[in-house]
Symmetry: C2
Subunit: 209 residues, 2 copies
């Protein structure tokens, strides 16, 4: 059954948020999207993927914030201001971009689980508030435990081939759909790029019935 | 006398808008900045400059919207949506980026003149609504005439060495201040990049007394 046929008449469309845990502008949207969507009666689908392979396919070796020094310097000023505006915690990560494969696999495994959103937000805070390694098993285990999950067994399950393959396929799907940065939102087939378009995407989702 | 010492106690700071007539995101801000600033009691200083030399100094041959094809394609969808949101006219220019040196020189010459803002907006519409050559003397002459100015003599004056030099210096100043794209706003020494930061820049200007 296709997605559209599952929607009831008069229901709003979901917003899908494609993000990478290493992406600072993804942090701004990840922390806000569920609350902003709820206000408008819109549902959220999480789409963790890896930006690295997408950048590589576009001929880029690293984040443009690393390769373009002058823009990179500005971005950290901008992040401070945006976090103050949205009242989000903020610490400039000492490692950027930070490795994000293991939490992306866990977030993939968590698809459809009630703890998925809260897990994703807590990992983002690990990176952008606590300035901590996101692949540290102890830190991930503590987050999972706080959500009532068994850390070691979830981490082991996330390292299974099936989940690895799912994340690879999700990343390839991002590339095929024309994603070139994160966060990227989809409302049906309409693509919106960047935290600055979250409101526009939600407004569209709320009015599309 | 320095800028700050000229402000009266209790007066808000100005916002300076650095823009290139060829830049589509500059169009979105240029059309809105005076009205949005007025609502907050903020003054506007126009800073026309040329993006080309700034991009070159950063090692870029052209607009990233031309060199990065996948992002470039998205930008035109985004422009359509943003113009609809702000209720601005929109035609995708058949030439992009369009040559903008002559209107930038005229806008430089117009510094401090009452017709500067309206001239700048009309040239932006020439490019992004009428899809017309911005260096066409007849079109520029018609705009100037509509503002009560003598087109041919203004155009001749704008081609004088002193104005050419002023625009070159303005562009060099942009580079020295860390400008890497357009529009860029300054409120005192605080830099904001992009149409999506116009509101934040104005909010800062309104509260800085």
């Amino acid at each position: 059954m296709r997605f559209r046929s599952r929607r009831r008449q008069g229901e709003s469309m979901d917003i899908a948020i494609w993000f990478d845990f290493a992406s600072n502008y993804s942090y701004l949207s990840v922390m806000r999207v569920e609350a902003c969507a709820r206000e408008r009666g819109v549902g959220v689908s999480w789409r963790p993927f890896l930006l690295g392979p997408v950048f590589k396919s576009l001929g880029m070796d690293n984040s443009p914030f690393v390769t373009q020094k002058i823009k990179g310097a500005y971005v950290w000023t901008d992040m401070e201001r945006q976090c103050a505006k949205y009242r989000l915690g903020w610490t400039k990560p000492t490692t950027f971009p930070r490795r994000s494969i293991l939490p992306a696999r866990i977030a993939t495994l968590a698809d459809g689980q009630t703890w998925q959103g809260e897990f994703i937000r807590q990992v983002m805070q690990l990176n952008f508030v606590e300035d901590h390694d996101m692949e540290d098993h102890a830190a991930l285990g503590a987050i999972l435990a706080s959500l009532g999950q068994d850390g070691p067994s979830i981490i082991a399950a996330a390292e299974a081939d099936a989940i690895k393959q799912q994340l690879r396929e999700r990343t390839e799907q991002a590339r095929l759909r024309g994603v070139f940065g994160a966060p990227t939102f989809f409302v049906g087939d309409e693509m919106f790029w960047g935290n600055d378009r979250l409101d526009d995407a939600l407004d569209l989702a709320a009015t599309r019935r």
